[in-house]
């Protein structure tokens, strides 16, 4: 029989509504309120060993302390599963349920599940970290919500791994994994094409993202002859022993190297570690990737002020969007703090 801890707020514990939202954290033995319906749904498969109750205002007045109290209680009772809510479309209650479920999973390694309306505020905040099943927007859908929570909860309590969100009936956590399937790729592709040709419904296995927000270009450089220009490349140009271990593909790292070293190009020599283009011509002459020769000539002629003392490098092949955005952000901040006015970015 699966032993379950259940978290609810003051309303579902029968203490009262908004006027009792400052009810402090307390622990009750056995099932309370919706916990009884959960036990009905569980039948002989499980029982609620303790109910953790906290008023919504009280929880958010000091979330850290209340989460610590939940963790202490659950660490002692050692349930197989924590169920929080379901909280439907509630704002504060939903956030409390998701926070409690997340903390119990992450800190104690005990599976936890909550039920939320997919547009509830807590979904955005905790989606990637918490097992959530979708519910209706009000307690009027309690019966269905409990059925869904119990179904997923029992599986996790039994030690099963998560299945794809659609199979589990969960709100997606937002990550993707390769799964072995019954239907070969070629059959799926052909079936999908024939459905499309026949005007039948079909489900793409990857859905396209909303378009990223365009990044407005920076204002033009006012006085080029006074400007400090930096060189930045995704062409993988690094000292030949690659001291910063920048990855040849799917890079997560960037580094900067003194332009004076690149100018000498001996001890260390520079070479490209990029895995996505034929780099022999860059290795033979790094100016082909990072055009220091041309930029230095412009500086000597007074067309630009000067060349920034470092150049920045990563390798741009197979890099995920989030790492690319982070690296771009980090490099840009460093450049700004070093007083760089403009950047020449060379790519492959």
């Amino acid at each position: 029989m699966v032993r379950i801890a259940h978290y609810i707020n003051q309303f579902f514990a029968g203490i009262g509504g908004e006027d009792k939202a400052d009810a402090p954290f307390e622990i009750r033995e056995g099932a309370v309120g919706p916990g009884r319906a959960i036990e009905m749904e569980l039948g002989n498969d499980g029982e609620i060993v303790q109910t953790l109750v906290c008023g919504d205002n009280s929880f958010h007045a000091d979330p850290d302390a209340n989460i610590a109290a939940v963790i202490a209680a659950v660490a002692e009772s050692k349930p197989d599963l924590l169920i929080a809510g379901p909280a439907f479309n509630a704002g504060r209650y939903g956030l409390a349920c998701a926070a409690v479920a997340t903390a119990v999973t992450e800190q104690l390694g005990i599976p936890a599940v909550t039920g939320l309306f997919p547009e509830a505020p807590a979904v955005d905040v905790y989606q990637s970290r918490t097992v959530m099943v979708p519910t209706g927007d009000s307690a009027g859908t309690m019966k269905d919500a409990i059925e869904a929570v119990v179904k997923v909860g029992l599986r996790l309590a039994g030690g099963d791994a998560l299945r794809p969100a659609v199979e589990d009936g969960r709100i997606p956590m937002g990550y993707r994994r390769a799964c072995v399937t019954d239907v070969p790729v070629a059959r799926r592709a052909t079936d999908m094409l024939l459905a499309k040709l026949g005007g039948d419904s079909f489900q793409s296995e990857v859905t396209l993202p909303e378009l990223a927000e365009p990044i407005p270009p920076a204002a033009a450089v006012v006085a080029l002859s006074q400007a400090t220009i930096a060189l930045v490349t995704e062409g993988g140009l690094v000292p030949e022993d690659n001291p910063d271990r920048i990855e040849s593909s799917s890079a997560t790292k960037w580094a900067r190297y003194p332009i004076s070293q690149l100018e000498k190009n001996e001890n260390p020599r520079f070479k490209s570690i990029h895995a996505g283009y034929d780099s022999q011509w860059v290795d033979a002459d790094p100016d082909r990737m990072v055009p220091l020769d041309a930029l230095s000539a412009l500086a000597a002629d007074g067309v630009i002020g000067n060349v920034h003392e470092y150049f920045y490098a990563t390798s741009g092949t197979g890099t995920t969007v989030s790492h690319a955005e982070r690296m771009g952000d980090e490099i840009a901040k460093q450049l700004i703090s070093d007083g760089v006015h403009a950047v020449l970015v060379t790519s492959t």
Partner: protein, 426 residues
């Protein structure tokens, strides 16, 4: 098309491979005379050594440094199976071909000279059992592994050619020794009759060809400067296309997967039932500039129109660069009224949270996912490693245990559908 393009494909199913005195198939067991195979390979003095080994599904065996793989096939009667490499130049895709199914001739080797940059043979691993076995089509066939040692005095390009010919030659040789066996299956590949009530489906088959170690050969010639071209499906499966692509283990289509391209075999099995297989368009991916990518994609869309395609299935070979070429072709076909499905690998990062595609167009509304290149797969310690002691990945010991990105798995992200995987949202 006035060629007959009626190909009779005889299949002998191989259930086991063993080393013995003479090469041949008896009751589904392929016996290999290892010395004979070795002397055949060593006729080429660019290869200085060979070990012949066998890896079967379910064994605690890991194969490393995998290069090309070939299904043993030969022509019955006149004709050569890999024109441009073996025998005379001719058009394949008709006559009779004998194949041994369930077995591959897999070459494994290091190269004589050091590499730099893109154009190098990177690590490619096959596990014959355990979790990682789901990520290679070669975990599900018996591999006759040719572990080759290069003549140290030759250049990499020359050795690359020697390896390719060794695999093709051994494949042809083994199949020849099975001539006379009763086939388990005989299928006629003929698409000359089309049912006007069924949709015409074309296969847009994109291949990587950027230079040595990243090449695909069409009738013996690299396709670097190929504009998209129409080819009969029978030609593809009958040896017109040969791989020399070793740069990204997970994406590459070895010769075996050209011979057994799952999309082509699926369309063949459904021809006349729920579609007409209208043809194959080969596209060279990894075009260098935006203009070249658009030129090539527009050309492919145009050809699809020429052959009356109602729909197209598109597959790439490679990562982000290849995805752009394929997606543009998808866009131009859709704009020309040709419905498409595209097959794509995913690259959502090791934790799977990133957006999984490198490049998309709004028209790509029907995407089949073959899984991820970024996932980290646990590899157990194995009893035996074939091909070397050390991975070409940070000097890791090949015997395991280790965690390794799918990226280094031989055909782990096979975009022609070599595996039975799907990227799913969790």
């Amino acid at each position: 098309m006035r060629q007959p393009f009626s190909l009779t494909m005889h299949t002998i199913e191989v259930g086991d491979v063993v080393v013995g005195d003479t090469t041949g198939v008896i009751d589904g067991t392929l016996t290999i005379d290892a010395e004979e195979v070795a002397s055949l390979v060593l006729e080429d003095d660019r290869i200085s050594g060979i070990e012949v080994d066998i890896a079967r599904p379910g064994e605690s065996v890991r194969i490393v440094h995998c290069l090309d793989a070939v299904e043993p096939r030969t022509k019955l009667g006149d004709g050569s199976i890999f024109p441009g490499f073996l025998g005379e130049m001719e058009t394949v895709g008709s006559g009779e071909t004998l194949r041994l199914s369930g077995v591959s001739v897999l070459t494994s080797s290091l190269f004589p000279q050091p590499f730099s940059g893109l154009l190098q043979a990177r690590e490619a691993v096959v596990d014959m059992s355990g979790d990682a076995a789901a990520y290679s089509p070669f975990s599900r066939v018996i591999n006759l592994v040719l572990v080759l040692t290069p003549n140290p005095d030759i250049e990499n390009d020359d050795y690359d050619d020697a390896i390719r010919r060794a695999g093709l030659k051994v494949g042809d040789y083994i199949a020849k020794q099975a001539i006379g066996n009763e086939p388990d299956d005989t299928t006629v590949w003929d698409f000359s009759e089309k049912n006007p009530d069924l949709p015409n489906v074309v296969y847009f088959y994109q291949m990587q060809s950027q230079g040595r170690m990243a090449d695909t050969f069409l009738y013996g010639k690299e396709i670097h400067n190929l504009v998209p071209t129409i080819i009969h499906p029978n030609e593809v499966i009958d040896g017109a296309v040969v791989s020399g692509n070793y740069v990204y283990a997970c994406y590459k289509n070895p010769t075996y997967l050209h011979q057994n391209n799952p999309i082509i075999w699926e369309l063949q099995s459904r021809h006349g039932k729920d579609l007409n297989f209208a043809g194959v368009i080969i596209n060279r991916g990894h075009n260098y500039t935006q203009a070249e990518k658009e030129r090539s994609s527009l050309w492919a869309a145009k050809l699809a129109g020429f052959i009356g395609a109602d729909g197209a299935i598109l597959t790439p070979e490679g990562g982000g660069n290849a995805a752009i070429d394929m997606m543009l072709a998808c866009q131009y076909m859709e704009q020309a009224g040709i419905k498409t499905t595209v097959v794509s690998s995913e690259a959502a990062g090791t934790d799977g949270f990133d957006f999984p595609l490198f490049f998309t167009v709004p028209e790509a509304d029907a995407i089949v996912s073959i899984g991820s290149e970024d996932e980290i797969i646990p590899h157990p310690k194995v009893e035996r490693v074939i091909g070397g002691d050390t991975l070409l990945v940070d000097g890791m010991s090949a015997i395991g245990p280790f965690d390794l990105k799918m990226y280094f798995h031989y055909c782990g992200a096979s975009q022609v559908g070599g595996n039975v995987l799907m990227g799913r949202e969790f």
